[in-house]
Amino acid sequence: MSGRLRSVDEFLLRLGLHLRPEWLESCAAGLPGFDGLGRAEVQARRCFEQFLFADMNTCGAGVLPEGVGNMHAVVLDGPFVLQVDEIVNISAPLRERYHEIHAGPKRCLKLSMTDGIQRIFGMEYRPIKDLEVLAPAGLKVNCCSFLIFWDNCLTFGFCALVLCISVFGFYLRQIVIRNVHIRRGLLMLVPEVIEILGGVVDDLEAARDRLVSEVNKPPRGKRKQGGLPLSSRATLAAWPGSSNVTNGGEGIPLAAAVNSSHSTGLGTV
């Protein structure tokens, strides 16, 4: 990676985001006046804004510890910036799974997340008000941070350069204190450990819309069903032309894995 980007990369790493060098290069090249921005954190912010709308399955370089899917009863150090590929409400049967519902005892969301290299699932262990059933597909979240991500940085950054880094470093330590529990490879999510960063991935969003409209269609007789169960029909609607309509985890192309294994919310880890 070129020198100018190394400091941007380090800055983002400290915030829990690890991006592939080639993506960072092309992102910087694509932003007019990038070099003239000056400080690393300003450049990092511009790249981050682009990242929110990119697909982490292709641009993420992995930030979760290796073998995270097999960890049990440990506490993970954060922060981790992850992309939420799909959200399902596992308190509801399939036909109601994609109905919007407020956070509460009658809702339990399961999230399918990726850091670009590994897939990990999370369960809404305590109601998380900021999460919606139909939140944008490809949403970015930050695990283990409970402070506002960027605004503190900027507020202090314009005051004094030196103060910014040390103050922000101070906040980083506080962030690390609150960590996320993982049991049987499932992240137990509570409002204190997750922060919504925003963003969307257009392809995933379009596929999710196709899936939801197929699931929410009122039933119209056996002929229209074509002999397939609803979960398969929904997956086919999301990814037309995909032949991988099974319940599986690893080994299936990521795009299909997102929906085929989890459109019923029964992902195995």
């Binding site: 596992i90 399939l94 005892p105 339990c108 399961k110 262990y125 049991r183 049987r184 019923t264 029964l266």
Partner: protein, 490 residues
């Protein structure tokens, strides 16, 4: 009441909606004046009853006959009857007319003959809009034969002495607006039904293979503005049921056993459709199985008396308790009404008018071996059981809520269904005049490893109205017992 003609007896033609009503009305009115005679009319089923009576001091000779429902039908003019005679859309403008069909010609003849002999016409059709519409059909036929008839309307809700005498002593005039409303409804149904039936039959005739032995040319896909949407609801529901795919789900059961019994706690999440999440949560509970009581609540629960009985409520309850179809319920109710045991069973009214004599109706039920005792207690001011019925908010201004009008311990010609329905109506009436039943509900919330579970139980403190309506008891009491929680830690 004017005297028709000069002095002397007035001849009155009375027309009821069906032969049984004609007979009941005649029996009631002729009882005091020495009975009635009957002779056949032109129609086999509609006899004519004759007797003497006095209306408002005026001596009358009464002839009572009946029709059998509608006397006339609405149809398009002849040239539009054949299917290919016009574009179905033209049927919205095509002229229509009412006429007496072949099978009602005999009744028409009877009415014409009797009208020529009479001065007054009194209409005893049922007191609803359809009845008013039939009344005008009768008026049309009768005035066709005798232009000078003085036309009156008798209005009553129950075939009992008091009401019938009241009705005939306070005759009114028929209401054209109600009749016109029914005419409008009939015309709309005819135009929409005929045009769409023709249209969709011709359109879809060759679109489906239908296994019916009938001749293809006679296959009709009929359309009715009420029936078709109803069919739509049924088909939609069928598709929903057919499309249902079972899914596995998991829940956590939690019970606590003590000397006093076992309590089952319900997981606040209900159930989860994801095995991994369910198992993970379950493991956490098993690792820390100590339950902490978060809250114990004790609440008084009241079961309020029902609103006075309307038709829809009667059908719902008969279906729920006795598995009687709505159609059968109404048939039995009609029979009870015509024999004078209950008030008119087709009503939307669910509140009693303030001057209804409720106490008398209750008193009439006191001799009953089963519920007589309850009726007595209701009337006993010291029992403090009485409560004026509440107001359901509906009043069709034609009839009171359905209530018993005559005591019966069971008639010989009653089937099981008659007995059950009569009992239902009496019990419902007694219940709606009663105080609410009182129960106590205890709810307990516990927390195990961060997961919440609830249990609740009810005990009945004051049965009261539930003794009047035993069908509702099982809805009110839970199988679970109420019990103490001193053994669990805080």
């Amino acid at each position: 009441m004017h005297r028709g003609g000069g002095g002397g007896t007035i001849r009155v033609l009375n027309v009821a909606e069906k032969p049984s009503v004609a007979k009941s009305v005649s029996e009631i009115l002729s009882r005091r004046s020495g009975g009635m005679q009957s002779r056949p009319g032109r129609s086999q089923y509609n006899r004519i009853f004759e007797f003497n009576y006095t209306i408002g001091g005026q001596a009358c000779h009464m002839s009572v006959t009946s029709v059998t429902g509608h006397l006339m039908e609405l149809e398009f003019e002849e040239r539009f009857r054949r299917w290919h005679s016009c574009d179905p859309a033209d049927l919205f403008q095509a002229p229509v007319r009412k006429f007496v069909p072949q099978d009602k010609q005999a009744i028409k003849q009877t009415l014409e003959e009797e009208s020529r002999k009479c001065h007054w016409l009194v209409l005893w059709l049922d007191c609803d809009r359809e009845g008013e519409n039939i009344a005008y059909e009768v008026v049309e036929v009768c005035t066709g034969a005798n232009r000078n008839l003085n036309i009156f309307r008798a209005r009553f809700s129950a075939l009992i002495d008091r009401e019938i005498h009241e009705a005939v002593q306070h005759l009114g005039r028929p209401n054209k607006l109600f009749a016109d409303a029914v005419d409008a409804r009939q015309e709309i149904d005819l135009r929409i039904g005929a045009s769409f039936t023709r249209f969709q039959t011709m359109l879809l005739k060759d679109a489906f293979v239908i296994d019916i032995a009938a001749d293809d040319r006679n296959l009709v896909l009929s359309y009715g503005p009420c029936q078709f949407p109803t069919l739509g609801f049924i088909v939609e529901r069928f598709w929903e049921i057919q499309a249902h795919e079972p899914e596995e789900f998991w829940t956590i059961n939690c019970t606590h056993t003590s000397d006093e019994g076992t309590a089952s706690f319900v997981w606040i999440r209900g159930h989860l459709f994801d095995y991994t999440s369910a198992v993970t949560t379950y493991e956490m509970c098993v690792e820390e199985p100590m339950a902490t009581v978060q809250n114990v609540r004790n609440q008084e629960k009241l079961k309020y008396p029902p609103y006075p009985l309307s038709t829809v409520e009667l059908q719902k309850r008969a279906s729920r308790y006795f598995r009687m179809s709505s159609e059968h319920t109404m048939k039995v109710a009609e029979e009870l009404y015509q024999a004078g045991f209950i008030s008119y069973p087709r009503t939307e009214t669910d509140s009693f008018s303030p001057n209804t004599d409720l106490h008398t109706i209750v008193r009439e039920q006191m001799p009953h071996p089963v519920w007589g005792e309850y009726a007595q207690r209701l009337l006993n001011p010291e029992a403090r059981l009485w409560r004026n019925p509440s107001n359901g908010g509906h009043d069709d201004k034609a009839h009171p809520p359905i209530h018993p009008t005559k005591f019966s311990a069971g008639e010989n010609n009653w089937s099981q269904d008659h007995k059950k329905l009569y009992e239902l109506i009496v019990r419902h009436f007694l219940a709606c005049c009663s105080q609410p039943a009182v129960g106590a509900e205890t709810t307990v919330e516990i927390d195990i490893a961060g997961e919440q579970f609830n249990a609740s139980g009810r005990v009945v403190l004051a049965l009261l109205l539930l003794t009047a309506d035993p069908n509702e008891i099982s809805n009110f009491i839970d199988a679970k017992q109420r019990y103490g929680f001193s053994c669990l830690h805080r």
